[in-house]
Amino acid sequence: MRHYRWYVLGLFALVIAGLVAAGTAGGARHARGVSGDISIIGKWTGGEQKSFQAVVDAFEKQNPDVKVKYTPGGDNTPQLVSTAVAGGNPPDVAILPQPGLMRDLARRGAAKPITFAKATLAKNEAPVWLTLGTVKGKLYGLFFKAANKSTVWYNVKLFKDAGAKPATTFPAFLKLAKTLKASGAKAYAIAAADGWTLTDLFENIYLRQAGPAKYDLLTTHKIKWTDASVKSALRTMAKIVGDTGNIPGGRSGALQTDFPTSVTQVLTDKPKAAMEIEGDFVPNDVKADVKPIKDYNVFPFPSIKASTRAGIVGGGDTVIMLKSNAAARALISYLATPQAATIWANRGGFSSPNRGVKSSAYKDPLNRKTSLALANAKIFRFDMSDLQPAAFGATTGQGEWKLFQDFVSNPKNVNGIAAKLEAAAKKAYGK
């Protein structure tokens, strides 16, 4: 019995020694020229992981001495990366869902500047992306995969049944919803169980109604959430989320519908609702056998004021470098090129901010439409909630996500929600 115990302990010690060794191995090896191992923790899983692997495979072909090891972190990527950094063993490269953490890591010196990729990026991407990736005058983040969140997806059959046409202005949009309802369809699928879909909706309305200047002020909390512009955007939002009879299951149904479920309510052959107001990634969650254009289609989020007609709210996944070695630098430089983006564009489910990607690279016609709109947008604003402190803008069950859900429960409570938003923002900004 006692021997057995020692055996187990010994085994344990061995495993730990092994883990420690494995952990330090990557950092200890100093690559000369472009060779070595690159470890990546990234948010892409499933189909996205496969597509990214294809991009990486092409890189490995160009650099046969480099081995890339990709670990998918999914929704927990920020926690995984923060923990790895705090534990003194960061991956070489990380791919983060929100720029907030990138800024944080850059300020703390954990992320390394990627100034060497700046020239390539400046040539191919709109200046806004470089600005977003810059902290204290140095470039840290490369936006490889972007998202156009100013899109409305719809079920072609329900539109045909109702004789409805995509709307370009907001009044026309509301009339469209009314027509859809009269035809016996529910107009909106709303994924209110996921708070981020509600912040996206609010941001689209706010950018169009209050304009880009106010949008920037609100993003950095230079104006309060109790500002008149916020309240009037909330009232506009209530016209959609408060249209209870036009949502499958009403408002309480919406609050229990998560994003993948809401997609299956619209992009299917047995639809429960006609429209889904979400980004270009919506088709990734299609489960039924439906085809673009024939069964589902997309139109840009309607304009509210003529001056902000072409406004686009978008998001993006940031590639950052946590260890500066030749292999990691080579990978970052490679990801900045149109060639790398083209590989994923070919595979679909991808929008690149890289204007060097030819439109023919996007095989899916709807994907092409949304991607080009994004890369060439005249007014582009990054997803506001992703730029705010995570406690306020991106946390399940609190801050914006929670309060917008409360707003769906009670869309009349504009003043109350605005006041609560302001209180939560104040706290998150540490004022």
Binding site: G163, G195, Q256, T396, G397
Partner: protein, 415 residues
């Protein structure tokens, strides 16, 4: 020397984390700034943590007693039935899966949509037997002249006299939900001594003109139309034809109203929002009890088997009823076992976590919050307030200590 490895692992995995957690609980977020008891004050002032404490109090008040009681009932009953092994196996089965997996199962069972959630499907089957859904549950009037509500039915406000025509237009009916056999709606022909009318789907692609029967709009067959007098009393009723028309023949000269009764608009069972903010904690407690009842039953059954038969026999011979025997003999003899189960459940419930995380959807997680979940969410759920998380951890630890002490003392006494 022989203790060295144990001491080493204890230090690395128990002692160091413990001390560091206490230290961290006095620091601001993830910095090293000392803020004294501020984090502890926050526990009792923040909405989220206060809800968590309240919910945990409910858990403590309900679950240990409920699980022990159910375990006791099952244990006593299974002693008497033939297929007790099968029954015990079934009740114990949830223990074999992880709490998280059990949570996923209940998340699906608790879905609001009766087509998805087993619980609501069962309730819905009963509900729809007693109150069958109407033919046109989502229909609404197409014109302002038709007023009322789905619960009371819709009434056409225009007074009708013999020879008049009633047009009852409805919208909000999808092409798939138009009753079987519907054909193009027809404009009713007036009758000298009767009242005629039409009920139709007042919609064609693009909208059409409301209140007018147009080409491409379908009649609604099988709808029960009521003829009411001006006081609202029902005089007569009839059913519509395939083209939506209906007629009341030989009507006395007077003012009438045409109406469609509420039965047509009765909605099918929409489901109970188990996962909504109001019912989430009861739903979680049901799921948790389902998992742990088996554990309680097995432990209590073992205790029951150890009770000397003679005592029970003696009590019965003395003329005690079954209830008296159970109440005065069995339960007191089982007391030590019952308290083991109760205290184990008390500790389990104090640190309840995974079932809440897996069952409660994001939108009601705040309403379902418990202390352990609040700890995790403050530290890692995106807030990254490690200081507050550590403070909650220490608070939870302090709560568990008395129960632990009680347990240790009992063990000592028994040994």
């Amino acid at each position: 020397m022989f203790l060295a490895p144990a001491v080493f692992f204890l230090t690395v995995w128990i002692l160091y984390p413990l001390i560091d957690t206490v230290r961290r609980s006095f620091l601001y977020r993830d910095t090293n700034r000392w803020i004294g008891f501020h984090n502890y004050k926050e526990i009792f002032t923040l909405d989220t943590t206060v809800t968590a404490i309240k919910n945990n109090a409910i858990w403590i008040g309900v679950v240990p007693a409920l699980v022990t009681a159910i375990g006791l009932i099952f244990a006593v009953l299974t002693e008497r039935i033939r297929w007790s092994v099968a029954f015990k196996t079934v009740v114990f089965m949830p223990m074999a899966i992880s709490l998280f997996a059990a949570g996923v199962i209940w998340r699906v069972m608790d879905q609001e949509d009766p087509h998805l959630g087993a619980l609501n499907a069962g309730i819905g089957a009963i509900h729809d037997t007693f109150r069958p859904p109407g033919a046109l549950p989502d229909a609404e009037p197409s014109t302002a002249g038709l007023t009322g509500s789905p619960q009371r039915g819709f009434v056409l406000q225009t007074p009708l006299r013999p020879g008049d025509v009633a047009r009852l237009g409805l919208t909000g009916i999808s092409p798939d939900n138009v009753p079987h056999g519907a054909v193009q709606a027809a404009n009713p022909t007036p009758k000298a001594h009767g009242i005629t009318g039409v009920v139709w789907r007042d919609f064609k692609p693009g909208g059409g003109k409301t209140g007018q029967v147009e080409q491409g709009e379908l009649g609604l067959p099988g709808v029960t139309v009521e003829l009411r007098d001006t006081a609202g009393k029902r005089i007569d009723s009839t059913s519509t034809e395939d083209n939506g028309t209906f007629a009341f023949d030989d009507v006395d000269a007077s003012d009438y109203r045409a109406a469609i009764g509420p039965k047509t608009f009765a909605k099918p069972f929409g489901g109970i929002a188990w996962l909504g903010p109001k019912l989430i904690t009861p739903a979680l407690i049901i799921a948790y009890t389902w998992v742990w009842a088996g554990f309680a039953m097995v432990v209590i059954a073992a205790g029951l088997a150890a009770i000397p038969r003679e005592v029970l026999e003696a009590a019965r011979t003395d003329g005690g009823t079954e209830w008296q025997v159970f109440r005065r003999v069995t339960v007191p003899l089982l007391a030590p076992v019952l308290s083991v189960v109760f205290i184990t459940m008390l500790i389990n419930v104090l640190k309840v976590f995974d079932i809440v995380l897996s069952v409660a959807p994001g939108s009601s997680q705040d309403d379902a919050n418990v202390i352990a979940l609040a700890m995790w969410r403050s530290s890692f759920g995106g807030v990254n307030d490690y200081g507050l998380g550590a403070a909650i951890a220490v608070f939870l630890f302090l709560l568990v200590i008395p129960v632990l002490a009680l347990n240790v003392r009992r063990f000592r006494r028994e040994a």
